[in-house]
Symmetry: C2
Subunit: 319 residues, 2 copies
């Protein structure tokens, strides 16, 4: 057990309130006045989660978006956020704030409060954001724990773009400018759609967002639900930009499925909800794709054209 694992283990031992969902879900769910209040908090650290020369507007956008993605995965409508800002260079801070404003408007999540702190000279800065949303009346807030044998497994959008976008931003992969720009945008400015999460919530058994890599997140859902998730890697949706740059052979697919930062929805639902799921996504102009099934057993299993595919050693970003 690493130090971080031991720490999170200790953290779980003190977060015993049912609203904490054992710190094993995307968000906490607290009952307030008959409403389900969905709460999530994410922090980004300079030189860990973003680079000092990343555009500050994008850092702010991503801070808002990753939290909104958690709300979306719980079928919650954003109602507000608080954030903590570590002051630094004034021009950088002003640009960050402009990006924050744009993102809060885009995701309809008003800024309600927070804190502003000074940092020791030269220290890397960090920004924390707490996002609040409300679940739907009469519909349980989806968790990671309710996938059932017989469910279809679905994913929204396309997978692997942000991971490839990071490589493009770092200059470790090249291609035509239009494709690389699209992928870098997926990395820097994820666009979760809470209305999709809201529309799906009554139709799904389990739902979470894909943030650390499709495979590692699917394995977490399988473990939380006590089931096996069987994915047909040939059906995993890839963008045309990704396919143009790296193709779509098995290696490219496994790379995409183990890259992080997708901020798409992973969910399971009974087969009889298929038509309603497709319709809900189409109404919002979003793509959803069935990529596998839930089975008895445990863990992940991968196939391609009915042949078993061994799991890669690394499933995504483990932490």
């Amino acid at each position: 057990m690493t130090g971080e694992h031991a720490f999170i283990h200790a953290l779980r031992a003190i977060a015993t309130d049912p609203a904490a969902r054992r710190l094993a879900d995307d968000a906490a769910v607290l009952r307030i006045g008959g409403e389900a209040l969905v709460l999530t908090m994410d922090t980004v650290v300079e030189s860990v989660h973003y680079l000092p020369d990343d555009p500050p507007q994008d850092v702010a956008w991503k801070l808002v978006a990753v939290n909104v993605s958690d709300l979306s995965a719980k079928g919650a409508t954003p109602v507000g956020c608080l954030y903590s800002h570590a002051l630094g260079d004034a021009a950088w801070d002003a640009a960050f704030l402009a990006g924050l404003d744009v993102a809060c408007r885009r995701f309809a999540i008003p800024l309600l409060g927070g804190d502003t702190v000074r940092m020791p000279e030269g220290a890397p800065r960090s920004f924390s954001l707490t996002a609040l949303g409300t679940g739907q009346q009469g519909c349980p807030v989806p968790s990671r724990t309710a996938a059932q044998a017989g469910d279809r497994v679905w994913v929204s959008g396309t997978i692997g773009d942000a991971g490839l976008g990071l490589r493009a931003a770092l200059g470790t992969i090249g291609g035509n400018e239009g494709d690389t720009a699209a992928l870098v945008a997926r990395y820097r400015r994820p666009i979760p759609e809470p209305r999709l999460g809201v529309a799906l919530a009554p139709l799904v058994h389990a739902m979470m967002d894909v943030s650390d890599g499709l495979l590692v997140d699917a394995s977490r859902m399988a473990e939380a639900s006590g089931v096996c998730i069987a994915l047909d890697i040939g059906t995993v949706p890839l963008s045309s930009a990704l396919v143009t740059l790296v193709g779509e052979d098995r290696e490219a697919r496994l790379d995409a499925m183990t890259a992080g930062d997708d901020y798409e929805l992973l969910f399971t639902a009974p087969p009889e909800h298929t038509a309603r799921i497709i319709e809900a996504a189409a109404t919002l102009d979003r793509q959803v794709t069935a990529i596998g099934t839930v089975e008895g057993g445990s863990g992940l299993s991968l196939t391609q054209e009915a042949a078993a595919v061994p799991l890669p050693e690394r499933l995504g970003y483990q932490h």
Copy 2:
């Protein structure tokens, strides 16, 4: 205007939702399902808000307590918190977590979620906590803006202890061990009492917590309410430990009133509520003291034995 002032000004321009209270109150107040949800977020930074060799249990306690103090000042009952932890030395982190657990239990504010992040090697760490509370049904959540001419001005507890405790911790003031230990404890482990805030909320016009210094916080309330707050400095409550160490002459009193970290309640109320206020505090074994009056005009005015006292140059921690 400093960079920080300019930044906060820009922040206010984007936080236009009424729930944000113009970022000028202790907390945001959001209506959820007929309840008033009170939200606050504070961050502590290593070498800025605490020293690397401060006991980690105390750093965690204070992080919880300063947020609970904001809830108390809004008459809110704590319902939960989320926090973000910057990982560092494993033993320090474990001790911090133990302190967090103790504080969350003491203040009945369950830990519901948050985030854990790695830091670049050697970087100072920071910890953010978002606290949630619920206001009382049928009672507006007190703000800083509602002090009225004719009100009495009150403060809970004793003033200046934590500031002197910091000096004792830094070794810049000495005294007998019992007194300095009591003052250092006031600095490291403030004990806000949300039940006092709850009991006072229906009785007050304006209420806030004293965190940056009694004078600066009173001047903020005066400004927010568009009134003058007139304080009789001879009535400001001082602890016996403080009086033993530094006496209670005018200089000692002004020092106490401009020291930070009290985490007491400052409130104004109509004189006819006096008996109920005293009773509410007595029931909770807490001290409250009338220290002045609200008058027409603006700003602060100080007297001692009916003679005017000039305002000190520094009213507290300005930021």
